[in-house]
């Protein structure tokens, strides 16, 4: 007699065989084959043994979760606050350095303008005065 493949029997125990025809074939075979019937029974026994597997339940699990959640949300909030204040500080530093640069540039431009104007004025007046002296001296020499 041909026996049922054990993998098929395992699927049968779990109700995973869809084809009615296959199911019927297995059922009929189990009625007449002691070898397969034993294998089937051992699988059923294993299932009932595993049903006993459990992890002790924790009554305060939700309370612990709430505590963890609150801590998490608080740390998220403080992280957000930190990033926000860090961002604000960065913006302020940027604005400060920008206005400082702007101020310094403006000042250096006006100083340059002023310096150049003064230099031109001075050299112009010097030139003029020298010219005048030289003119005067030339006149004197001429005499």
């Amino acid at each position: 007699m041909k026996h049922i493949e054990k993998i098929l029997l395992s699927k049968y125990v779990d109700g995973e065989i869809e084809k009615e025809e296959t199911k019927k074939m297995i059922e009929d075979h189990l009625k007449v084959c002691n070898y397969c019937k034993d294998a089937y029974n051992s699988y059923i026994n294993i299932n009932s043994l595993i049903k006993n597997y459990d992890v002790k339940s924790d009554e305060n699990a939700y309370l612990a979760f709430v505590e963890k959640k609150v801590n998490f949300l608080n740390s998220k909030k403080s992280n957000f606050k930190f990033s926000l204040s860090f961002g604000i500080a960065l913006v302020l530093i940027f604005l400060f350095s920008f206005s400082l640069t702007l101020f310094t540039t403006k000042r250096s431009i006006s100083t340059t303008n002023k310096v150049s104007t003064t230099v031109v004025d001075k050299s112009f007046s010097n030139l003029f005065s020298e010219d005048y002296t030289s003119v005067v001296s030339t006149v004197n020499f001429g005499r």
Partner: protein, 182 residues
């Protein structure tokens, strides 16, 4: 209608609308199941408790991104499996970082993690199975999941789940025999 009777999808919708109590319902509905799955990885009750809490915190945070392509429980179990695996990886890395002076502490830790003799037979036998076989079997027999869902949770094919459950059964049979003869 009592909130306890509401299905997962309705509870999720209510939670996303701001009803915190709906999340509590989901938590209480699935805490033990998730804890069992995590425990089957960590084999340590305190670690399992911590990881389970982390999982629910993650779910609380990312429920908005749950796309409802699969059942909530399938999604939750998948998150649980992934987080348990990353916990174990992190733990083994930490263990590798222990210096020689700390070997004594490490040995004590291993002692703590060893299953004690009075642990029930089911747990003792399950813990001797290879990881995937153990999980496929627990999901199928304890959590009542279909092979298709288990395949989704473990990210393997349905055929692979068939084989995993079958091999788990055969291995359990051998382990039970060994246990009888001891």
């Amino acid at each position: 209608m009592e909130k306890n009777n509401l299905n997962d999808e309705i509870l999720i919708e209510n939670f996303l609308k701001g009803d915190e109590y709906s999340f509590r319902m989901l938590f209480e509905r699935y805490y033990d199941n998730v804890n069992r799955i995590v425990y089957s990885y960590t084999k340590n009750y305190d670690d399992a408790k911590d990881v389970t809490q982390e999982i629910f915190l993650k779910v609380y945070e990312s429920l908005k991104s749950f796309k409802k392509k699969s059942k909530f429980s399938t999604w939750l179990y998948r998150v649980s499996v992934n987080m348990s695996i990353s916990f174990l990886r992190k733990k083994s890395k930490e263990k590798n970082l222990f210096s020689l002076e700390e070997v004594g502490d490490l040995e004590e830790k291993f002692e703590e993690d060893k299953p004690s003799y009075d642990r029930n037979l089911a747990e003792k036998i399950l813990f001797e199975l290879p990881e995937k076989q153990r999980l496929a079997f627990i999901l199928s027999q304890k959590e009542g999941k279909r092979y298709k869902e288990i395949a989704e949770i473990l990210n393997v094919s349905e055929k692979a789940v068939e084989a995993l459950v079958y091999r788990a059964r055969e291995n359990i049979k051998i382990l039970l025999e060994k246990n009888k003869s001891m």
